[in-house]
Symmetry: C2
């Protein structure tokens, strides 16, 4: 077994992400010491799970570690960093796992914490508790790191090695680019979901009619509406300028489509919709190895367990499902499954497996 | 077996919906005659499935039926209605299944087709072909009907009876209200999905950085991006004014949130997010019997078939899943399942079943 890049790791905020870091580190290097810092009841769970070896209620305890991982909401991490800054040793390495990066990178700079490298694993959900922590949470996950011109190479290398060895794929990105990208692919979608449910709820009140069964597109687009307020208020505020740019871009695009629609320009609407189809396909392909993403539509009849049969058949064949969507019939017991499979050959194999199960399947 | 409300049904456009009407009618009344009118290759499939008993390539063949169901895209249905109008007998009943209702209701009025009642089943997807047709597609589905002041009661009653007997829940709504509701819960979500993928694709090009793995919120909200252009161009155009209103409302809400965000007003952002959470919950509850919807978060480890295990366990217990979402880890083999279960008691039962499977579960 390789020597651990850090012998003592302090985790400030032991939720899903922090707990999983602890579990993964301990699974990789059984001798590693993991100090959990959080509220008492959280630490009881963390100890029971084996996510931490030591516990503390005060952030000062983190000073005993050679790696400090800040795993609380963004604003809390910034405050913790400021509080620890004057007492950090010259070789202390500090990182975080927050969804926005400029604030904390700027705070590290302002407080002269040159041992800080920002991080953001694209895994898990910030709202979940330590009871969901898992040693394999980061297996295959992109883990952004935001080194700056001041970052010492040896420090970055140690952190990179830690993350690689617990299964993540570290990727360097500057904090500015990170925040702009996340504004588009995560923060704006949350805002739009909130806008849509507000509009729909108001329609219902005004119309004095029940809303129709909200179809799959409405459920998909509003699934993240009203996500954990404490977390998301922080994210919106921390990334306000990038999110404002993203909102402005969305307003401009929506206004442009509005004009096309008001003109009744069918050809332009068609071209716009075709472009969206191409964009979606390319974005999905970009996420994956395996080339072209094929969309399969599988009809599932009204019999129990059929979704399970589909999942099992594909699982046994080790077919990688890029994405899936269920379009249940109103009684929820039947409907369609749309499967996006990377690679024409794998898709053909999936198609054959569905046919073997007697399920009608077609390519979109 | 009850006497069929119609002895001969003509289906103009035999796709998923048309084919399922044929299958359902024939399953309910084996003696019913179903005339399918469509392209030759479509009719070959429809006959093989048993969805139709007779076939024709020309819409005139529909005149032999006592019920004509228009199941093509909206604009085609309007044209077909206009073509048939002068030759329809006084007792002919005509309906349609289009996603927008004012156009065809107005066309029926303009052409004096007083035997017309517009319809829209909230089941299936317009883009799917006849090979996915099923006799039970409408089981439990809301089927909107748009009678007008001129609609004869006997005619409406026969159509209502047909739909009830094939398992649907007919519900009267005026065409105007229908189109306004659908603009909010279906058409606008499609527009926003297109806007988001366009923005994300442009970000990627400009940044010269690969987009990050697009998280679950992005995949959820953009799943319907670029849906079938022929169908959706028609829907957007047919419902342009209601959709314009819906877009204007979204622009106003997004602009208001933009102002709050620019002010950095954390309390207002929090209140806005809390309201969205409440709105989503109430909208989901409105769709369902069974009262309060509970959200369960189930962690699923990195082992094949675990999603299937979850589905089977809930299926065996006949627990009604209002909605579900998969949040896969980057390697797609593990992650979370969020289950929305109607009724606190059923949710508790589901929670216990997940615990029996050894899967960590918590309530949101």
């Amino acid at each position: 077994m390789a020597e651990p890049p850090f012998r003592t790791i302090a985790i400030v905020g032991v939720g899903l992400i922090g707990g999983s870091v602890g579990l993964a580190a301990r699974a990789t290097w059984p001798g590693v010491r993991v100090i959990g810092i959080d509220a008492r009841d959280v630490l009881v769970s963390a100890v029971a799970l084996g996510a931490v070896t030591d516990t503390a209620g005060d952030v000062s305890a983190a000073l005993a570690a050679d790696l400090i991982v800040l795993c609380a909401p963004v604003a809390v991490n910034v405050a913790t960093l400021a509080a620890l800054a004057p007492r950090l040793g010259p070789d202390a390495v500090v990182t975080d796992v927050g969804s926005t990066k400029r604030d904390i990178v700027a705070a590290a700079e302002a407080h002269g914490v040159h041992g800080f490298v920002g991080g953001h694993p694209l895994a898990g959900a910030e709202t979940a508790g330590v009871e969901h922590a898992r040693a394999d949470l980061f297996e295959g996950a992109t883990w952004y790191l935001t080194p700056t011109a001041r970052t010492r190479g040896t420090l970055y290398e140690r952190l990179h090695r830690l993350l690689s060895q617990i299964g993540a794929h570290p990727a360097a990105i500057d904090a500015e680019t990170h925040d702009r990208l996340l504004a588009t692919v995560s923060h704006l979608p949350h805002v739009l979901a909130n806008v849509l449910v507000a509009q729909a709820a108001r329609t219902r009140t005004e119309e004095d009619e029940p809303l129709p069964a909200t179809g799959p597109s409405f459920r998909d687009i509003t699934r993240v509406a009203g996500s954990n307020t404490a977390i998301w208020r922080d994210i919106y505020l921390a990334n306000a300028d990038a999110l404002l740019d993203s909102i402005d871009d969305a307003l401009a695009r929506l206004t442009a489509f509005r004009a096309t629609l008001a003109d009744g320009d069918g050809a332009a609407i068609g071209a716009w919709n075709d472009a969206a189809r191409d964009d979606r396909r390319r974005l999905l392909e970009g996420d994956l190895a395996g080339g072209e993403v094929c969309e399969l539509r599988v009809s599932v009849p009204n019999r129990p367990g059929v979704v399970a049969e589909v999942a099992l058949a594909l699982g046994r064949a080790a077919i990688n499902i890029a994405d899936m969507a269920l379009y249940p019939a109103p009684d929820r017991s039947s409907g369609y499954i749309i499967l996006w499979i990377a690679g024409a050959e794998r898709a053909a194999q999936a198609e054959a497996l569905m046919a073997d199960l007697g399920l009608p399947v077609s390519r979109a």
